[in-house]
Amino acid sequence: MSPKKIVLRFSPEISDKPIISRLVKDYDLLINIVKANVNPQREGTLVLEITGEQVEGGMEYLRKLGVQVQPLTQEIIRDEEKCTMCGGCTAICPTGALYIERPSMEVKFDGDNCVVCQLCLKICPVRAMEVKL
């Protein structure tokens, strides 16, 4: 069975709880952490590759805890023409994929760090961020 790629988002309240270990112990899942950005009292994000019989049960467990679970099948792109480089997205982006380069103050987008949370789509004032399916 090929691994399922998913993005998990944790609210600050649960980001310091032992959650992933339960997926291994209780649901017998094989987990490969592709990307992780988890800090106490902050929003956290994880990109995982999961294999096992009880994937759905594990996902159900995560959702019950308030973890947002999304399949990673989409990609975010930036319309360079539209972006005015205001920087308004850079303190919202949870993974630092959208960031300001200093001292030029230019706004950069590193798709490799993007976990497709789509917050930037909602808050970009000129709608420069798009989902590519």
Binding site: T84, M85, C86, G87, A91, I92, I100, M105, I123, V126
Partner: protein
């Protein structure tokens, strides 16, 4: 050392004026000192590109046959104010279509508003126009549906009642839930801090006492030429002080600006949408500062380290008009990407584009260096901090 506007303009005309952007002038002043920099440089250019809600455009559509006294007007379904003469209207930047869901599904998206209409108009796109009226003997027509473009209408001029804010709050959220403001999305419990000026490049931060910027000043506006028409609404200039009495730079001044939309560019006039707040308009403004003397030079050389923004809580203090703030922070600190508020490290982000501000200052520098853009002595100065104007509260 004193230079007159006429002397500087003579140098601009002969192509001999020394023009630097505010960033370049700061470096020169650090190297040569204020006196040396003031002697060398004739004009310093500034720039800002940021959302400026108090913006809009007056349009005159020309008369149809038969004539119509337009009572209600919609442009791409966005209502324009038609309570002026027969075929005049004002399209305001924050107006949204009547069927916009607003915040009924919070946070609303506000995808298209008056600012977007102006951007599309300037880009040369056809705009769907609808008008209704009650009919009079001299203006019998009652309905009209047509398409207009910028070239086909008589006049279109931007007239923004409050632009170019001298300084602005650094917005934070002390509350426990995410809030959606005109300063963007603010995450709970000091999750982020948003600020919105171009700091050391920002026009009014470089002329705190309105020594050179006044009524009639010729400026870069939306990619074309514009003018300072008046003070902006809520023009309450002051000099901020720390509790110890340290000068924290100016705040509170605003400008009302005007200019012909037909020579502007949609690159510098952008409709913007703030989730949960509304539609607005990002405007590019650049103002030249003639270096008349050392005092003007000293202000123009102010750096991000000298200019401060007040930190304001938008969960309670701002909406409920609770006076005071959470302290001041320099633009130098804001630009590092993190500041400390109430003992906590907070990530910062601008809502005002510094790269675009730099580009505007460079374009204006080019215009002046090329001899095609002369500086203007104000017809009348604007109120300065010395006038001590304060905002009034609304009863009710």
């Amino acid at each position: 050392m004193e230079k007159s506007y006429a002397e500087i303009n003579a140098k601009i005309k002969s192509g001999k004026a020394v023009v630097l952007s505010a960033e370049e002038f700061i470096s020169l002043a650090e190297e040569k000192g204020i006196s040396g920099a003031a002697r060398t440089v004739d004009v310093v250019t500034t720039g800002t590109f940021a959302p400026m809600c108090s913006s809009g455009a007056f349009l005159n559509f020309g008369h149809s046959s038969p004539r119509m006294k337009m009572h209600r007007v919609w442009l791409n379904e966005v209502p324009a104010y038609a309570g002026v003469a027969a075929v005049d209207a004002y399209i305001g930047a924050t107006e949204v279509p009547e069927d916009d869901p607003l915040n009924s599904q919070f946070p609303g998206e506000f995808r298209y508003g008056g600012g977007h209409v102006i951007e599309d108009l300037v880009a040369g796109k056809p705009i769907k126009m609808k008008a209704t009226s009650y009919g009079t003997d001299c203006y019998p027509r009652k309905t009209l549906e047509t398409t207009i473009t910028l070239d086909e209408i008589n006049e279109a001029f931007l007239f923004n009642p409050r632009n170019g804010y001298q300084n602005y709050n650094c917005a934070v959220n002390l509350g426990s839930k995410t809030i959606y403001t005109y300063m963007g999305m603010l995450k709970p419990n000091l999750g982020n801090a948003h600020y919105s000026t171009s700091g050391q490049l920002s026009p009014l931060l470089k002329d705190p006492h309105f020594k050179t910027i006044g009524i009639g000043t010729r400026i870069f506006l939306g990619g074309g030429i514009g003018y300072v028409a008046w003070n902006g609404t809520q023009h309450f200039p002051s000099i901020q002080k720390s509790p110890e009495g340290k000068d924290l730079g100016p705040a509170g001044g605003t400008l009302s600006v005007i200019g012909d939309l037909k020579q502007m560019s949609s690159k510098w006039l952008k409709g913007v949408s703030f989730a949960g707040y509304g539609a607005s308009f990002a405007v590019g403004i650049g103002i030249p500062i003639p270096i008349l003397n050392e005092e003007v030079a000293l202000y123009a050389a102010a750096t991000d380290r000298d200019l401060y923004a007040p930190i304001v809580d938008y969960s309670d203090a701002y909406p409920n008009r609770v006076p005071g703030n959470l302290g001041h922070v320099s633009y130098a600190d804001l630009k590092t990407g993190k500041i400390t508020v109430n003992g906590r490290e907070v990530a910062t982000a601008p809502m005002s584009s510094y790269p675009k501000a730099r580009e505007i200052a460079a374009i204006l520098k080019q215009w002046i260096s090329d001899g095609g853009f002369q500086i203007t002595e104000p017809v009348q100065p604007l109120a300065s901090p010395a006038d001590g104007i304060c905002g009034k509260a609304l009863k009710g």
